[in-house]
Subunit: 361 residues, 4 copies
Amino acid sequence: MSSSFGKLFRISTWGESHGGGVGVVIDGCPPNIKISASDIQVDLDRRKPGQSEIVTPRDEADQCEILSGVFEGKTLGTPIAILVRNKDARPEAYSEMKDKFRPSHADYTYQAKYGIRNWQGGGRASARETIGRVAAAAVAKKILHSHFASNLEIIAWVKSVRDIVAKVDPETVAFDTVESNIVRTGDPQAVDKMIELIKIMRSEGNSVGGVVECVVRQMPVGLGEPVFDKLEADLGKAMLSLPACKGFEVGSGFAGTRMTGSEHNDPYYMDKDRVRTRGNRSGGIQGGISNGENLVFRLAFKPTATIMTAQDTVTTDHENTELTGRGRHDPCVLPRAVPMVEAMAALVLCDHALRHRAQNG
Amino acid sequence: MSSSFGKLFRISTWGESHGGGVGVVIDGCPPNIKISASDIQVDLDRRKPGQSEIVTPRDEADQCEILSGVFEGKTLGTPIAILVRNKDARPEAYSEMKDKFRPSHADYTYQAKYGIRNWQGGGRASARETIGRVAAAAVAKKILHSHFASNLEIIAWVKSVRDIVAKVDPETVAFDTVESNIVRTGDPQAVDKMIELIKIMRSEGNSVGGVVECVVRQMPVGLGEPVFDKLEADLGKAMLSLPACKGFEVGSGFAGTRMTGSEHNDPYYMDKDRVRTRGNRSGGIQGGISNGENLVFRLAFKPTATIMTAQDTVTTDHENTELTGRGRHDPCVLPRAVPMVEAMAALVLCDHALRHRAQNG
Amino acid sequence: MSSSFGKLFRISTWGESHGGGVGVVIDGCPPNIKISASDIQVDLDRRKPGQSEIVTPRDEADQCEILSGVFEGKTLGTPIAILVRNKDARPEAYSEMKDKFRPSHADYTYQAKYGIRNWQGGGRASARETIGRVAAAAVAKKILHSHFASNLEIIAWVKSVRDIVAKVDPETVAFDTVESNIVRTGDPQAVDKMIELIKIMRSEGNSVGGVVECVVRQMPVGLGEPVFDKLEADLGKAMLSLPACKGFEVGSGFAGTRMTGSEHNDPYYMDKDRVRTRGNRSGGIQGGISNGENLVFRLAFKPTATIMTAQDTVTTDHENTELTGRGRHDPCVLPRAVPMVEAMAALVLCDHALRHRAQNG
Amino acid sequence: MSSSFGKLFRISTWGESHGGGVGVVIDGCPPNIKISASDIQVDLDRRKPGQSEIVTPRDEADQCEILSGVFEGKTLGTPIAILVRNKDARPEAYSEMKDKFRPSHADYTYQAKYGIRNWQGGGRASARETIGRVAAAAVAKKILHSHFASNLEIIAWVKSVRDIVAKVDPETVAFDTVESNIVRTGDPQAVDKMIELIKIMRSEGNSVGGVVECVVRQMPVGLGEPVFDKLEADLGKAMLSLPACKGFEVGSGFAGTRMTGSEHNDPYYMDKDRVRTRGNRSGGIQGGISNGENLVFRLAFKPTATIMTAQDTVTTDHENTELTGRGRHDPCVLPRAVPMVEAMAALVLCDHALRHRAQNG
């Protein structure tokens, strides 16, 4: 079990879906950063359940409490502990899953690895685990803005739901556009179609996947540490650690494999005093280090595993059986994944900004 | 700079393209594993330059020397240092790059981050850096086979070059089939077309990218450590740290985003005493932990950045200019990337096998 | 700030003396270990304030709550979060310290390092911080007993207070003997003298230091990882991280420097099937690895910095001034340091037991 | 096995006494630091064998080669690999130790832990292992001087050999005084007596221990990271990882336990603009963080385990037997330990300087 992430801005998350709560401890935060519970709450509200008609109706306010590391409104440089209590737990909805493994969920593998699992609500494999990430990222963004890149923008959006693809320009998409619709896409034309599809899926007891795209604008030059902690490698790990994420690509990604070098390369030119590239197939990273262009990357999210129709499965006693999902679930994880993706990006960038400062001053 | 990888089977690679050599120190290797320089050489020979007419002609034997950690043919449990000297360095071929940044290469970002770079042959950003990875992975495979999974197979192949796509079944593809052709694809029908395309690209001074696919068969159940060190997250990081890699997906990957939950889920069934799944959209990982099915994942490699045609760029003094590539380069990195991908898979699996043993006995 | 300790059994502590509380997150705990809040409470009660007339009268029950990682009485293998609320905080007692640095306390250095500090009760530098360590160690001991050494005993005691030296035989001293007196020494003859000295010091507004000695009996052979994570090195670090600790020695320690090799060496002999040593100048560790003999080590604790008499100091505005201590403090940290020392030993041994299992099976 | 040390300035040492050589890889070195092999050689020469008549006569030039990470005389920010070949190995001198364990050496514990050991010359437990530490520390000192504290001085000396105690004032002792005598003490009056004692010990086939003291002058304020990576904790770990070290104390150390708070506390006063203390019982560290006063600490080194007289021991087959030492050994490790102690101090301080810069700018 490894629930810590980051080298210098290091977070340790904890908590199960059903239990005392969830939270995070942040170690290595610079001192004298202004932060309050309400700063954090803004981001938690964007990921919380029950926020719209297309996400899980579990009723959680997800109110956070800062237990340590902040004094008179500023960080002390000591560990920041943040706690969110679980309120609306309904373990009875999971009683059947005590003995049966949900296909393509984590039930079987946790049982096989640990010989025990909290079968109530998915336990540690629940998306509630990401609360700690999102809370920590609110602090990370404060650090990035106050110490490293005051205008840095991290914006993610739903790029596609199943085969409905949004048209969004990473150079110009606005945060408010994305937040103005419950599916969190950046293309107003796609909103209704996506919502409709998700509702249909839910009504059928089915689920659906899609792609989230993310841009980071006003990027500092020089973040990323070859050869193993290249920026794309740490971003990739961060994103692939999110529930339901099955793929990650940066810049041209898989489409870039169909290009030649002369088509793919981003020529340099001087833009006043700044080295810039024409085109951004690199996605803002070259040799594992940010080049100051926009970071652009995409994540593949599979359809939610828990569906409300009968599926073949096996019991914990290794008998063949059938299972029909119950409980409250997102028919599509993408609208709530958007703030999680931004959070992981912020955590990676903050950690790398501190690491860069350590080595290169 | 972070040139260490792994938590318990921890490697530290070092070395530049032009300089004293390249190598690796392995810390945390279990004792009493039989290993010799020739065991390692087999894998180094698969990645070395000059091995065929479609790769860089740089003439390096890449002979390795084990400097420590092995006694009378067995590992001591102490650090294993492995050294490969650079022989065929030609710094003069890079003299123009001393002052000009190759587009989409690491020249500019290294200079911007560190304020200095070894411009000879790409320095640390050279693919020579992967020698240490491949050497360490030879040891990792020994450990996996002797302690954790005697029949485990790690096989990668070239899935596509530009738009030429090989038909390969991960369940059955044989290592010998892949190794029987210089492009290292698993589809005999695709070999000639791929080779021809690469030759054309080289003759035009251009380059080309593609996709590598990898399977791990006879996988142990239970590897991977949620929530951050999920198996797909650590594999993704490992692969995205390889030169030129721009994307990673596991199982259904990006294609899976166009499926519904009922289409995507892998139902469980009992195969004698063993829990198995019908279908493998999960790619062998659920909840971040291996389920015993085949690991299947794919990597996107962009076309080689160094091409032999004139491109716009800037100088280290920030003047616009032009640059035409020189030196010896792979017109397509994929044939030599295949052993690198297998190596990174072996390193991740060995580390996770040790981690799993630590926590779960 | 680095508030994490351990490589595989990794704890992250958090919390200040005055604030929401203190606690710990344990990552990497093996699954299926029986543990309850009351198991932990036993050890917390041994370190809590107000337990006797010779320690600080701060009134804290230090009741712990397990927030995650335990299900139906057993560990899940997921992070265990433990919370203790602060109850009896009296910030007003520290108002003068807001502007004046207590000599030989952490006030000045925290302010100089971070540019900010929680001046209420010592903030993070308070001994309340050790609650998380002691709670985590209760879990560590469970693991050691259930998986590695069922009879392992960790016993610490007060070896000296100022110049009153207890006569205690590490081979035979009993836990109950130590716990039977409020000063926690292992020598019944020394109890009254030590208590009397501490009371005199307190009545004078002064404080006093001393030595804690610790033995670990029924030690497994093979724990410790040369060359940097030698068992004495990790134990030394653990102990020197405790508040007020200024020295650490193992086995013969500083006294051993006055011996010759022939006097100091511990000859081996066979005790039935077991390799043993005559004498134990090595303190149970040779070459950084435990040899199965009793671990024996000692710690030097300086007198408590906060005293109730006037001392020269400076203000946060860098003016010379005087300060007379206030608040509730231990006139001698040693009675409460005893369970902290045992806790740090348990944390180091548990981590090394898991590490040893990882590498050596 | 854990042969890596440091969090940001991270070294990985490797090598056995008899084998291909010994060396180190340094990861995380800041770029643009001037360094050459001859800079490193100066320190290696101070620790090399055969340097005087009171140390082991093994004939090793210990010439180092920088294999990577340095370009045109400056660090690149990439890993620096340094290699020293073993030349004067004489495995035949150790043939008896193949089957018999030297009392109080690492022979038995390595065999018990790993089930295998390189019995030639002590293998990894040889003091040759420290070559990598000393080489890396030469780089660390360059960084400290160029980036953090241009006048910082790290000076260690032999404080005592057995019962001969040198009178040395840490405030004023000069490096040249220490280096002017082969025993490396700072008290000219003690030189002859110490040398004579060591010669007597050697002539008797015996050995002797002693204390090394170290001062760091011109210390920056603010280094050290509570609560676990306190400066004294990381220094203690560093020192206790040195061969034969059995104790560590900082400032008043064990003697301080016999003082009261009013005697022990170091009052603050303003020295122009600088906060200083009268007295330095704290040894330059308060609350785990440097306060700008001189760091002062001491290490206990036991007498060398390998002696030339008959001792009881057991065989690898677990039979009682006798062993008389052979081979070339230091009758007293202290003269050569002095540069090792300075090296470990430099490594800890450099790492903490980078860590401090990361968090606090």
